[in-house]
Subunit: 155 residues, 6 copies
């Protein structure tokens, strides 16, 4: 597990850092400070992802072990291979995070998608679709377009 970032900067910079880089509301729970049920999930995250670190989202969520467990169990069910491959799922997740302006999620799932093989071309094509959908969603609403009858027919 990586060392806590608080040890990295000269002390003189700490008030500056606090101003621009606030502590998460509940703080982060590092591995060495985690209770056993949280450690078990951290271990499972690292084993599943074949990596030796846990990103901040999980360390912040760990203050609510039941929420941590729900989110991680859902991640394993929802983001793994199925009739859609994990990269496609990761790009859908990233697309939603971009649309919702979630800075953390954009950063972490851009890295996640790249880790699953997303090329720059795929990233750019996904992003173009996100922009186009967001524009058209509003054109439709503004024009008050009624749903075509055919789209309401049973499949």
């Amino acid at each position: 597990m990586e060392a806590a970032p608080s040890n990295r900067w000269p002390d003189a910079l700490s008030p500056l850092l606090r101003a621009i880089d606030p502590m998460p509301t509940l703080g982060l729970i590092e591995y060495q400070d985690a209770p056993p049920e949280v450690r078990a999930i951290y271990d499972d995250i690292m084993a599943t992802r074949k990596t030796d670190w846990v990103n901040n989202f999980w360390k912040a969520l760990a203050h609510d072990p039941a929420a941590l467990k729900r989110a991680w169990e859902t991640a394993k069910q929802v983001m793994g291979p199925g009739s859609l491959d994990p990269l496609t799922k990761e790009m859908i997740y990233l697309a939603i995070s971009i649309s919702n302006q979630c800075e953390y999620c954009i950063a972490s799932h851009t890295a996640g998608a790249r880790g699953k093989g997303m090329t720059d071309e795929q990233f750019k094509e996904m992003l173009a679709v996100v922009g186009f959908a967001n524009a058209n969603n509003r054109l439709v609403a503004g024009l008050r377009v009624e749903v075509d009858e055919r789209f309401n027919a049973p499949a």
Copy 2:
């Protein structure tokens, strides 16, 4: 091209229909009433999609021929085959429309994705990712999680 829906119901129902099924703000431009530059785009839509009808979005947007042309040209550039296949793009578009609660877009792009081969399994897996991303986008924001330094490093 399909007949206008206004001819389909008994006259006695028309005030009811107007109450529940309003005219689009600018109305719809049917093929027979369209100026040549709009007809050319309708023809291209039908030819590209190998179909004999045009859905309401384009008929409503046709009141602004420059906007119609921009949207259709972008659709051809953005939604066609590339490093992502057209079905993946259609599902990303649908995912965004679901996230944005755009009823028309959900109806039309569910049909569009099915037309490109989306199975019920794929639909359900996409939807599960949309729900999960929307939840986690808020957990991250509420916890004020800071971006991990690794996610900011150059790729």
Copy 3:
């Protein structure tokens, strides 16, 4: 003041209507049933707008007379003439409602903007900007573009 819509359809249709056209959560308060402080605001709305009816938003909000008063007082302060003219303000309001997918607000403020002189050309240009901004808002987020230093300088 217009008659309540519930009297307009044959009784046989009433279950259908209830299914598709639900009562607002708290119902609507018609003029004849309104307490004096609500009537005074209805009167002011009609006098200010030089019209003889009040639209459903105010009749629904009237269940909370303090909220009704706040909203109407704000409307008079915010939507009236100033350094921006009332039509520009109405179009900004409509643009936001379109972006937020608020069906009622789109319907009422399209009518409102037209009542203030919005032409079809102006509507279409406004809508094009709304679509473009919504697209670009996401392109920027997805690309993680940092704010140019010049944009942070004091004006």
Copy 4:
């Protein structure tokens, strides 16, 4: 009233600070520079909240004294005790701000809710509801679920 933050860092850091910590668009109006009607509101804010400082939101909004007055009067009407207690209202406000990804509002209303007694347990339970609602809002939209007739019946 607290001193302006601009005096706190070494001069050598000021270009860095400007890059990462931009001035609000219109700047902040400090108490000593405020016109009487703004000072009166600052005084009321501090008296109502039993505190000796005013947070940046009000100092930025003070450039539009009518907007400042509207917002503060609404705050007093809407956020105070009623049939819901102030802490419940503060948590609803925080929940909306989290859902909307408003960083400033999350920071200020997390502090506000804690000041009104919000425990970490309450914070975590509120956040779990926010995540769950945001997920389900999309599942419903994606599945195109029709409203149950019973939910449309008069209460």
Copy 5:
């Protein structure tokens, strides 16, 4: 369990109904048609809620039994009594659904909150907070207000 709505209207109205009241994308799974693992969840929903029917959300989600199970298990963990009471949680859920313009969720959780005892006064106060937060979230963003240092300090 309630009878399917498709039996309720004269046949002559069915094309009208289909136009205005489309089938959910995957349809609804009624109790008598549900596989055992879905029936078990329907039974648990009815037992937990002390009622004899299941609303459409669950019947639509039942096409993905794993998603149905996740959502229902989360509902029991997240919406039940804790350090916040179930009515407060229901109102936070409703507030988010209103903010996100999810029509189905607004209808179902207004009913849900009333079933848990929400009074009209509480509803109106909650709604006022939702409106106020949504307004202020944008005032803050537009003014580019920086987070007060105090709000970044550890609790």
Copy 6:
């Protein structure tokens, strides 16, 4: 064209800067490194805007030259003079960006609107409308207000 910001700070600060001021996902393409078709667009941006620099949005988007071209061509069609003047369009764009919480877009289009003559009074009036619309969009949704029949009538 301005020099790249990476040269501006002492080397000792670079890890700090990387932590707080991450590289855009694909980086920025500076003029001197741009291929001819990108340079041509940069030239057109600077000529059209009568300026000697290009802001980061375009430099980040330039990794996808087709997307860059689409966005710039749309900008010229949509943001230029028409039946709405460029300042009104810029303020509508800014209003949407504020509503969507897009920090970059707020910064760049506040500067853009000011460059087109937006006064502080106009900014404040626009912002007040954005706040009011966002509040009312939710009041309407929460009250489940049905659209007035008159708003559905043909114009």
